[in-house]
Every structure is written in C-alpha cells, then in structure tokens.
Subunit: 405 residues, 2 copies
C-alpha cells in the first residue's frame, strides 16, 4: 500500500464537470488500495476574481485580510471535490490548511511552511478516507490564515508529502509534463520522462511556469519525487527526482524563456569600493528583486553597472536608482523594458566546455544580439530583444538537438 | 463607553460600494468611543450561488462539506469590510466564526451555539480594533466548520452580544424596522418603535422574515435588546426588547402572513388512542416539520385529521402518510398546496376576549373562507386560500386599527 499525494491545479477543477473528472481519477488511485491525500487549487480564475474584488475596495489591502479573502477559493474547491467523491460512493473528507496542520510563519501573502502536524490527516487516513486538502494556505501559531504565495498549492502538496513520508507526489495540471521547450513555440519539443531537481529548479526560475520553484526546492530537500502529468489525459508525464540517469550526460535538457525582463543601466559610475552596495541595498529595501547583474570592465576608473528586474518593478526601481546615481556621481540611468531571456539548462553541461560558445554562435547566426549573459553550473542565460526570443528558442532547440534526448 | 454588536445582512454588503457605505456607518459608531463588534453576512446571493455549485456536483451534498462550502461567503465579506475600514484609516480585524470562538454542536447545516469563547475578541478589543466577525458559522470541538442555518448570522450576532454582555445588538438590513404589516401589501402600515420578544417571535414564526426566530429566542433568554434598522438610511428603526410599554394593551401590534403553506388531510380515520402518534411519529422521523394540527370532532368514532407543512415538504409528507393512512384504516388522503396563513399578533390580546371573534367576522365580511385556525396566547392564525391572503391582511390591518398604534 503506497501513500500518494496528488495535487490538482486550478484549470483541472475549473468547472463542475472537471471536478467530476478529477474525482474519477482520484477514485482510480484509491481503488488500487493506496492511501490518497489530494491537494486542490481554487477553481479557474477564482483567486484573480477575489483579488479584483479587493481592489474595488482598496488599492492597498492589508496582507492578513487578503489571505482571509483569497484562501476561500481553495475551501470551495476542496468541498466540491469531496462532494463529487461522495456522489461516486467514495469515502472522503475536506480539510482546510489549518485542519491539515500546515503551520506557517506570519508573513502573510507569502508565508513559509514551518511544520506540518499530520495528526488529523493520519486519523482520517486510518478511517480509510480520501483526504482532500485546500491548497495554498496554512495558519500561524495564533490560528490566523496565511497563504504561501502565488501558485503555492504546489508547496502545500510537497510539504504534506514530506511530512507524511509519501511515496510520490503526483501533480496534475493542464500540461502533461516538462518539455524540452514550450511546445507552443517549438512544435517538435519532446516531453521529458524525467528531470533532476536542480535542472527543474533552473527551468522554473528561468521561465518554465509548470512548477513553483519553492516547491521544487522543498521536494529536493525532502527527497520527494514529483510526477508532473495532465489531469485531462493519461500520458505518462515527467518525473522530477534526485537520481537522474547517466544518459543525460553532455546534453541540454530543455530550453526555457521568459518575456518579463527589464534592464536598467547606471552609466558612467566611478569605480570605487562600495558602489555596488550603494546601488543594490536601497533596491532591496524597496522590495525590488534584482536578477542578473553585470559590471563592465572599468576604463579610467569609470564603469557601467547593468541589472535586470521584472517589468512591473522597473518604474519603482528607477525611482529608487535615479537619486542614488546622482549621489554616487554616475553620468545617467538608462532603461529598456522590451527584453526577454532565453536559457539552456542541463546538468550534463556541468564541467563540459563548449556549450556557451555554441549558444552564442547559434544566436549570432540568427542575428540575435546578446544584451547580457548570466550562467550557473547547469544553465546559460542570454538576455535579448523580446522580438527575438522565440526565434532564439527555436534555434537553440535545434542546434543542441534537444528533441533527440 | 458602550459595547455594541452590529450585524449587517447580505443586501447591505452586496457590492463594493455598499461595503464602503457599511464601513462608513461602523466608523461613525467607533468615533463615538464605543467598542464595536460587527457580524456580517455573505454578499448578496453568494450563499445561493455556492449552493447551486454544489447541486451541479451532487443532489445530496454531505452536510459537513456543504458547511465548508457555504461558510466561505461570510469569510469573503468579513475580509472586504475590514479592508474598507483600513482604507478609511480605521483599525479593524476580521475573525472567522472559529477565531471568534463560536463553538457549536456538530449538527451541520443547522448547528446550535454551545458556547462562545470571547478570548480572541477581547484581546482585539483591548487593542482598540473594530472586530469584524464572519456570521452564520462556528466550529465543533474537533474544529470542523458548522453553519447555524439559513439567515443565522442573526444568531451569531445575538450569541456574541450575549457572551460579551453587549449593551445593544443593532441589526441592519434593507428594511428599516418591524412594521404593523408588510408595507408592500398594506401601504399605510406603520413602523413600530418597539416590540416585545414574544410578539416578535410570533411574527417571525408566522411570516415576518425580518429576524431569524432562533435569534429572537436567544436575545430574550439573555435579555439582549435588538435594534432593527436599515443600513441605507438613518431612520430610527424598531427596538425588540423585554419591557414593552403599557400603551400596547388591548392592541393588535402587527399582522403577518406567509404564503408557504400546504395542507394534508387524512380523511375518515377511526378515532382510537394512538392514531395521532401513528401519523406524526413517522413524519417526524422523516424530518418533516408539521405546523398546525386540527382534528375534527369525531362522528361515529370516525374523524378527519388535518395538518399543515411547508410546500416543499408536501410531496415527501404524502409519501410517508399514504401507507400509514392505509394501515390505520383511513378512507383516503387529500392535499392542497395553494394556501397561506394570516396572523394577528399582540401581547395585549392576552386575557382579552373578542379578538378572535372580530378576526373571523372581518374575514367573513371580505368573503375569505377559513380553512384552519391556530392560536397562541398572543396570536391568532387563520389558514386561507392563497389568493385571499393579501386581502385578508389589508382587511385585518384596517379592522384592528393597527396603524394607529
């Protein structure tokens, strides 16, 4: 008897019909004799609709109250899914994040799971119930409701899988796995049968929206294999796990892209110690998350400092940076919001030379100008004009023969 | 400094604009220096919409899961109302039924309040917070969410007022008080400035939908005066309380009516001991609530037994009654779903003869045939054809000069 955590995304439970379909899938697993815990997201656009409602009242909703508001979406879907299982004659019970014992810190809107008290879940499993848990939410020590950040039902699922020592965490959504590239951009992209945690984390951080990056980190930490598959078909999906096979050596595993890039350059900065801190400490204090940072080689002790932010944070970043630039004696501040990034990811790239050179050559052949470059041990990212991003993805997918596996 | 519990109904918080209006009213009370606890219903038709959603999944939703589902409506409105107060610069916090300490038995869908642990509310009041409580809900000892029955945010408000020893429970909705009759039927109906608990209970039970009957019983038990007023204007409203003034002697206070009446007659029943039990015990077991019961004088040990139920229960009642009728040797079972009831209520009627006679004469003059009669010490109810109900209300309002007060 295996203990299985399943998680269904918002599109999988967007309508009553789809909820019944999900109930069917759960029932099939239960019929095999396994213990089943299901984490469910809010139906379709519910969370967005609730946020819109709040915005009609105030432009600055209190985070605690936003969490009370948006956490109701998952309560609704958990109750409905439980009813659908009852209708089919299966024993099931819905639990809120609080009832499921998901304890978090009190950082409302983006709380972190501190621990999971599995007592109530264990009790229900002993009664042979299918346990349906409202995703995305937990409670503080004071029993105030918190949410774990956008897309964070993934985190609920992995945290429960870890606490319950589940055999697998199966994550169902409207995409049936992790692809070598977005199939909407690269028609011959191939679904991977497996991928390593680190590779997946790089992909998720650099534009693949299928999994929440924090959920992947958590899964890696607790060695929870995650099966990413579709709730709309029976395709085998992709297994995210720790022990990736030897076949993947010297290979690019997947090409990711992200259109949400803006670049800010502080031009003509006097190059002296403390300059980077002078620029980036105020940005951090303003809650602006800086991604790639590049500093040009200094000529006559004058340099340019370039960094990227998400597009929606560009204006805020400029407001912070302009007075700082003046203060440190920089010439001026330039910005460009029409950028994107394209990344190649693969653990086989580690300690293998030539990937970067081939990437740059490929982009050059296609006439794609590289604005910035950033790398990790298993990833190379180029920031390019947004209009060139999709061409770049297609060219790289072909050049590295990613579809061949 | 007074401690005031306010309750706002669903129509008062149906839109973002109305929520802001309610926030304004709360702020005015808070500005007077009073401690304010607010109980809020779900926005507009939210509860009905959630029930419809459940009905798309199953025709027999599990009561526990229905409570998880429908209790979300009040969480949403409580968070939004709190945000509206924040937007105006007022300190406020939303609490769920669980957080507000409302403990109930485990009769899902119609749970009864067992006790109220006011610790968290007291703590928030000490911090000078306006406390916004999600109405209609509580939790069992096992921390499962329960709801208190339709319209039961009134019960939440009175229970909190009782537990906190509030000075007054002010209940705001889209009607601005208790009238001598429904103003849509009797245009010159007058708003009462006050009414006794018992009178109000009779009115609520016999068709006046303004207050939930169980909330009135609870208010009487704990001596909580309830001010019923509108959230859309500043009219003074009606005070429901225990010490009604002497002026109301010999007076009918209000005329109520209810269209939701169906009559079932078991015809030709052999009149022997145990017959009533044989009929009514199975009905009670089937969860059918029987209202008025009349047994005709028996002729040759044969009698007719008539009772009323709500219209939606008539078919279920007939299913139960038909085999029973056969078994006890009754001739047949007749039914009529097109009935209504009209009631006159007034504590001044107690020990004062002549009210019943005048009521029957008035109806007779108007050509209204009386099907059944039931009375309490302070109420006389006649069941009549549904088409005659409104004429009857108008005639009685005039005959008893109710509008004169």
């Amino acid at each position: 008897m295996a203990l299985i955590v399943q998680k269904y995304g918002g599109s999988s439970v967007a309508t009553a019909e789809r909820i019944k379909n999900v109930a069917n899938r759960i029932a099939q697993t239960f019929d095999k004799g396994d213990q089943v815990i299901v984490v469910v997201s809010a139906m379709g656009d519910t969370t967005d609709d609730l946020i819109k409602l709040a915005n009609q009242i105030t432009s600055k909703p209190h985070p605690r109250e936003m969490d009370v508001l948006v956490s109701t979406g998952e309560l609704v879907s958990s109750a409905l899914l439980t009813m659908a299982l009852h209708e089919m004659g299966y024993p099931a019970i819905s639990l809120s994040g609080a009832q499921a014992g998901i304890k978090t810190d009190s950082n409302f809107r983006r709380a972190r799971v501190v621990k999971v008290d599995t007592e109530r879940i264990q009790e229900e499993l002993k009664k042979r119930q299918i346990v349906i848990v409202a995703g995305f939410q937990g409670t503080t020590e004071d029993m105030d409701v918190t949410t774990l950040g956008r897309g964070a039902s993934d985190i609920s699922a992995v945290a429960l899988a870890a606490a319950l020592k589940a055999d697998v965490c199966a994550r169902y959504t409207d995409t049936d796995g992790i692809y070598t590239a977005d199939p909407r951009v690269v028609p011959d992209a191939r679904r991977l049968t497996e991928i390593g945690y680190e590779e997946m984390l790089e992909l998720a951080t650099y534009g693949n929206k299928v999994m929440q990056p924090r959920a992947i980190e958590l899964a890696e930490l607790y060695h929870i294999p995650i099966m990413v598959a579709s709730s709309f078909n029976d395709n085998p999906g992709t297994l995210i796990h720790g022990g990736v096979s030897m076949e993947n050596r010297n290979k690019v595993r997947s090409v990711a892209f992200d259109m949400d890039v803006a670049k800010i350059t502080v031009v003509g900065v006097p190059d002296r110690p403390g300059i980077a801190a002078a620029i980036f400490v105020p940005l951090a204090k303003a809650g602006i998350s800086v991604d790639t940072i590049v500093q040009n080689a200094s000529i006559n002790k004058i340099t340019d400092l370039t960094f990227t932010v998400t597009r929606d944070q560009m204006q805020d970043a400029l407001k912070v940076i302009k007075p700082v630039a003046k203060q440190i004696g920089a010439k001026n501040v330039a910005s460009d919001a029409k950028l994107g990034k394209v990344s190649i990811v693969g653990s086989g790239m580690q300690n293998t030379p030539g990937f970067a050179a081939r990437m740059f050559a490929t982009l050059s052949e296609k006439g794609v100008n590289i604005e910035l470059i950033s790398t990790s041990e298993i990833r190379i990212t180029c920031i390019v004009d947004e209009e060139k991003v999709k061409d770049a993805v297609r060219a790289l997918h072909q050049a590295f023969e990613v579809e061949l596996g």
